[in-house]
């Protein structure tokens, strides 16, 4: 299956159709965008902590620039970090390896999807440099602000922004073709549906949910672009249009989207907690059923983002019911994950620390969602920092904690070397502790009524108190510490790719198929197509000497 091919630099690194290379391209692009998005957070948080003082490395932050920073921070983190890393990087890298295939089913389409994605990132970055500046209407881009340049004052920026978003959507629709068809049709002989590792299931389900939810927003993106450039009035009440229509189109996608990124994160965590507790997943099928339930229900909760935004108040009651109830399947999934630890032999390796931190932190994010799903309480909490703290307690575990878990876990496979465990632990604590010190103050600020997307609170006497300002400074300083600690990760990651201790095929003694390939796997992955004899989580099987049982080992082996 694998073939020795002499490939030029261009072919190997820039024009590759190999799923592993494409996965790396998505990973590094996502990481680069994360640096940009993180820098934006640094700048706007410095403005909040020390209003109207020039920010080192940026300068004075004007109100317009503040809006552009928060808008693009949010857009970048969701569309150009979370999605490419969780779905496209891990999905591309892992799916063929974990199902025993030599590549994705449509490699050239795969390459095309990355190229469109890269184009979308470049279009977004271009929007920062055009006349009028980058779009500043929030990542939610509600019209008429986003539709008319006389309101947004960023004519070019606004159109480039929505174009970048639309291109990103197309890239992921195309990418999804590969994830779903490869997982369905290219599984190794013997790998039945319920022998597929959870992370593969999760990425496939996420791709399907993305496809089923993004269409209306693609239509909406066309409508917004036409409103911006051609003068149509889809969202303009003066021309018979309706601003609230955009909100429905946006959130019908926007809500399932958060589960689209949650699912791969949960998948990564499942792979890690089983390996490092040497335990079978407690209720593999339960995890799948709760995932389906959450996924389906997530299509019926969207207007909880719009409770007070002008929808018929009676509709809010429907959405508060569905929103509060979605906590049931998610809670069950979390319970099942935690139950997996029972009776285990837990090793607190760096990947395991991250995976456990995901569970502990996501729990806080999840429960605080109930304050917002309860419509009566959301009247107060809407557009406050309480919302912001809630979604960072869900998004940071998803897009950062679970990603570090996955990167530190699969690094030996990807690069054939180990990262430093010491630096890994230092980085872990240097991220987790400051993370909590950024966002717990923000819950408090939100409860005190602090509203969002405001460049300075000096004009609001109830919010301009010394006590509240101290909380803002605490959050900002903690962010600076957290961002600084990421240097440890970057050093550890890049220096280990060449200088780390050489890794064997299966350093973690895991069961799934990627660990049977060389570290790193060659083009074509496996010398011969593996056959599969059991599920992915047969750890500590009674009567066996080894506490793991790789999926491709025939049953007679003892």
């Amino acid at each position: 299956m694998s073939h020795a091919e002499e490939q030029s630099f261009f072919h190997k690194y820039m024009w590759s159709t190999d799923h592993k290379m494409i996965g790396m391209q998505y990973l590094f692009t996502g990481m680069a965008m994360a640096l940009i998005g993180g820098f934006m957070a640094y700048v706007f948080r410095m403005q909040l902590a020390f209003p109207n003082i020039a920010v080192p490395g940026f300068g004075q932050v004007s109100p317009g620039q503040y809006n552009a920073l928060v808008t693009n921070h949010g857009s970048i983190m969701i569309f150009w970090v979370a999605m490419p890393v969780l779905i496209a990087a891990f999905g591309n890298y892992l799916i063929p390896l974990m199902i025993g295939a030599d590549d994705m089913v449509f490699p050239r389409l795969n390459r095309l999807s990355y190229q469109i994605f890269l184009l979308s990132a470049l279009v977004l970055i271009a929007s920062f440099f055009v006349e009028g500046g980058a779009f500043g209407g929030a990542w939610t881009a509600y019209p008429p602000l986003s539709a008319k340049s006389q309101y947004s004052l960023t004519p070019l920026g606004a159109t480039l922004w929505i174009t970048a978003v639309a291109l990103e959507f197309v890239a992921f629709l195309i990418g999804g073709i590969n994830f779903v068809t490869t997982a369905m049709n290219a599984r190794a002989p013997g790998m039945k549906m319920f022998d597929v590792p959870l992370v593969v299931w999760m990425i496939v389900i996420a791709s399907i949910m993305f496809m089923a939810s993004v269409g209306p927003l693609i239509a909406g993106a066309f409508m917004l672009i036409f409103d911006q450039t051609v003068g149509t009035g889809f969202f303009d009440p003066d021309k018979g249009g309706d601003p609230v229509l955009w909100q429905h189109l946006f959130w019908f996608f926007g809500h399932p989207e958060v589960y689209v990124v949650l699912l791969p994160a949960c998948g990564i965590v499942a792979e890690i907690i089983t390996v490092f507790s040497r335990k079978k997943m407690f209720g593999y099928k339960t995890v799948l059923y709760t995932t389906f339930a959450t996924g389906i229900l997530s299509f019926f909760v969207w207007a909880h983002h719009q409770f007070i935004s002008g929808i018929d108040p009676r509709m809010a009651n429907v959405f508060t019911v569905t929103t509060v109830l979605i906590s049931v399947p998610i809670a069950e999934m979390m319970f099942v994950y935690i139950a997996t630890l029972y009776g285990g032999q837990i090793t607190l390796s760096v990947p395991m620390l991250w995976a456990l931190a995901f569970i502990g932190e996501f729990l806080l994010g999840g429960v605080t969602g109930l304050f917002l799903g309860a419509s009566g309480a959301d009247i107060y909490f809407h557009d406050t920092y309480f919302v912001l703290a809630h979604f960072h307690y869900t998004f940071v575990p998803i897009a950062i904690i679970a990603v570090f878990a996955g990167l530190t876990y699969w690094f030996p496979k990807m690069f054939g070397r180990h990262m430093s465990e010491k630096l890994g632990k230092l980085h872990f604590w240097g991220t987790i502790i400051p993370f909590n010190m950024i966002f717990i103050p923000l819950f408090i600020l939100g409860a005190a009524g602090q509203h969002r997307r405001i460049y300075s609170y000096e004009h609001f006497p109830e919010l301009a108190t010394p006590a509240l300002q101290d909380l803002r400074v605490l959050a900002t300083m903690s962010l600076v510490v957290m961002l600084s600690c990421q240097i440890i990760f970057l050093y550890n990651f890049f220096s280990s790719t060449t200088g780390g201790k050489k890794a064997s095929r299966n350093p973690w003694k895991a069961n799934t198929l990627e660990w049977t390939a060389e570290s790193p796997p060659p083009h074509g992955n496996f010398p011969t197509l593996p056959s599969v004899y059991r599920g992915p989580y047969e750890y500590s099987v009674p009567g066996r000497e080894e506490d793991y049982w790789p999926q491709d080992q025939p049953a007679e082996t003892r």
Binding site: V105, A212, L529
Partner: protein, 189 residues
């Protein structure tokens, strides 16, 4: 070199067919969103009925017939491909492409007439939806025609005959969208 993965089919369904179903499903959600938005607007704006009376129902009906016939010819192309008759498939595919071309010509005539009467995309929300929905559909017709042409040349040489069915599936979807567009934009007055 194609990977082994491309040729496998654990589910028994050809991978190409799965891929086309995926594409069709994504497009259904896109058009569904657009048409859903139109319907919501329409329900809240009864005057849309008056605006819609200026569309050319006869042209729309003719175009519906054209597309339905072209779906028939693509079925015949598929049938020929199943019988390994690449040359026949080629002829029926081009009949389908001709249908698409006819559709587009009639549509350009409609649009130029409407624009010359002052009904442009910015006239009001009805016309914005009209041109956007029909325009997006038209783009999909053009895209389908191009892909169909490429597949036809391969088929004539007896290569990749399984793709005739796949472009046929896509073409049926394009037809189906029009079946919804026609009553919504033309008939509901």
């Amino acid at each position: 070199m194609k990977p082994v993965a491309t040729s496998r089919s654990v589910t028994g369904i050809p991978t190409g067919r799965l891929a086309v179903w995926w594409v069709v499903a994504s497009e259904i959600v896109i058009f569904g969103g657009l048409l859903g938005s139109y319907i919501m607007h329409r329900l809240g704006h009864p005057e849309f009925g008056d605006y819609a009376s200026h569309t050319n129902t006869a042209a729309g009906a003719f175009n519906t017939l054209v597309l339905l016939s072209s779906s028939l010819s693509v079925v015949l192309a598929h049938h020929a491909a199943e019988n390994k008759d690449g040359k026949k498939a080629f002829r029926y595919l081009w009949l389908t492409i001709l249908g698409g071309l006819t559709f587009l010509l009639v549509k350009s005539h409609e649009w130029s007439t409407e624009i010359s009467h002052g009904y442009t995309i910015t006239t009001n929300a009805f016309w914005s939806f009209y041109y956007t929905a029909a325009g997006l559909h038209g783009l999909h017709v053009i895209g389908g025609m191009v892909i169909m042409a490429i597949i036809s040349f391969e088929a004539r040489k007896g290569r990749n005959l399984q793709r005739v069915e796949l472009i046929g599936l896509y073409w049926h979807f394009v037809d189906l969208v029009w079946i919804f567009l026609f009553p919504l934009l033309y008939i509901a007055k």
